[in-house]
Amino acid sequence: MRSGLVAILPLALGVATYGLAFGILASDAGFSAEGIGIMALAVFAGSSQIAAVDQFLSTGTVLGAALAGAALNLRYIGIVASVVPLLQELPWPARIIALQGATDENFGLALAARKADAAVGGRFLLGTCLGLMAAWCLSTVAGGLLGRAVSDLDRFGIGFAFTAAFIAMARALWPGRRALLPWAVTFALTIILMNLGLPPAAALILGALAGVGADFLVNEDER
C-alpha cells in the first residue's frame, strides 16, 4: 500500500492545486467548507463536481446540475471495469474504499505498475486511492476556507474559472481529428438549443447526444 501512496504523490500534488481552485469556486457558489469536504469524500469525482457546481451556480436547478455531473461520470463504468481484478484482491471494506477512489488519475498508474511488476495488486491501488482522497479532500476544504476569507472574487475573473477548467478538460479529452465533426455538432447544437430557450441542462445533454450520433455516422469505419 505504501508503494501506491508514494507513486501517486506527484499526481496528488497536481490534484491538490486543482482542488484548492475548486474549493474557492464552490465557496463562491454558496457551499460551506464542511459541505465541500463532505462532497469531496462522498462524490470524489473532480470534473463531475465542477460540472454540477457550475450548472448549479448558473441555473440554480438541482436536478439539472446533478444530471450534468452524473453524465460526466459515465466514464467511470469503463475505469472501474478495468481495475476489477485488482479490486477483487482486497477484503470488502478496503474494496469499497478503492472502488470509490478509482479515478482518471490513478487507475492508469495502477494498471501500468501491474504490467511492469505482476506483484503489484489491490493494495497498491488502495494506496493510490488514499493518497488522492487525502489530497482532494484537504485541498478542496482549504479552498473553501480561503474562498470564504476573500471577498469580491469577481474582480479576479472567478466568473470565467469554470469555463476555463472545462476548456482544459476538453483539451485533455481531445482524441484527435475524428472528434472534430462530433464536437462541432455538439457545440453548434447546444448554442442553438440554448438560444431557442431550452433549459441549459437539457440543451447540453441533447447537444452531447447529437455529437455521439455524429461520431457513429462519420467515424463508422475507423473502429
Binding site: T17, G30, S32, G35, I38, M39, A42, Q49, A51, V53, D54, F56, G60, V62, L63, A65, A66, A68, G69, A70, A71, L74, R75, Y76, I77, G78, A81, V84, L99, G157, I158, F160, A161, T163, A164, A165, A168, M169, A170, R171, A172, A179, P182, W183, T186, F187, T190, I191, M194, N195, L204, I205, G207, A208, L209, G211, V212, D215, F216, R223
Partner: protein, 98 residues
C-alpha cells in the same frame, strides 16, 4: 448552505457511486459491446464541449475572448491550472473593454 446544496451533494454522490457499482458488476460485459464501449468513450468529450458551449451562449464578448485565450493556453501548456489562470486574466482584461 441551503437544502438545495445538500440535495445536490446527495444526488451527485448516489449517482457516482451507482455508476462505479455498475462498472464493478457489469462494466466488463458493457465494454465488450461495441455500441456501449463507443458511447462511453465519445460521450464525455462531447458533454464537456456542450458545457463550454452553454457557458458561452450565456456570456458576452468578454467570455468569447477569454475562451480563445484559455483554448490557446490549454493547447500550449496542457495544464488545467495555467488554463484557468490565463482564462481568468483574459476575462478580467476583456471585461474592462466590453
Amino acid at each position: 448552505m441551503s437544502a438545495d446544496h445538500w440535495l445536490l451533494i446527495a444526488l451527485l454522490s448516489a449517482s457516482t457511486l451507482g455508476l462505479r457499482a455498475v462498472g464493478y458488476l457489469a462494466g466488463a460485459a458493457m465494454m465488450k459491446s461495441r455500441f456501449w464501449a463507443r458511447v462511453l468513450e465519445v460521450f464525455p468529450g462531447c458533454l464537456v464541449t456542450a458545457i463550454v458551449a452553454s457557458a458561452l451562449a450565456q456570456g458576452g464578448p468578454a467570455d468569447i475572448i477569454a475562451a480563445a485565450v484559455a483554448l490557446a493556453t490549454a493547447t500550449l501548456s496542457r495544464s488545467i491550472i495555467l488554463t484557468m489562470l490565463g482564462g481568468m486574466a483574459a476575462f478580467v482584461a476583456a471585461s474592462t473593454v466590453f
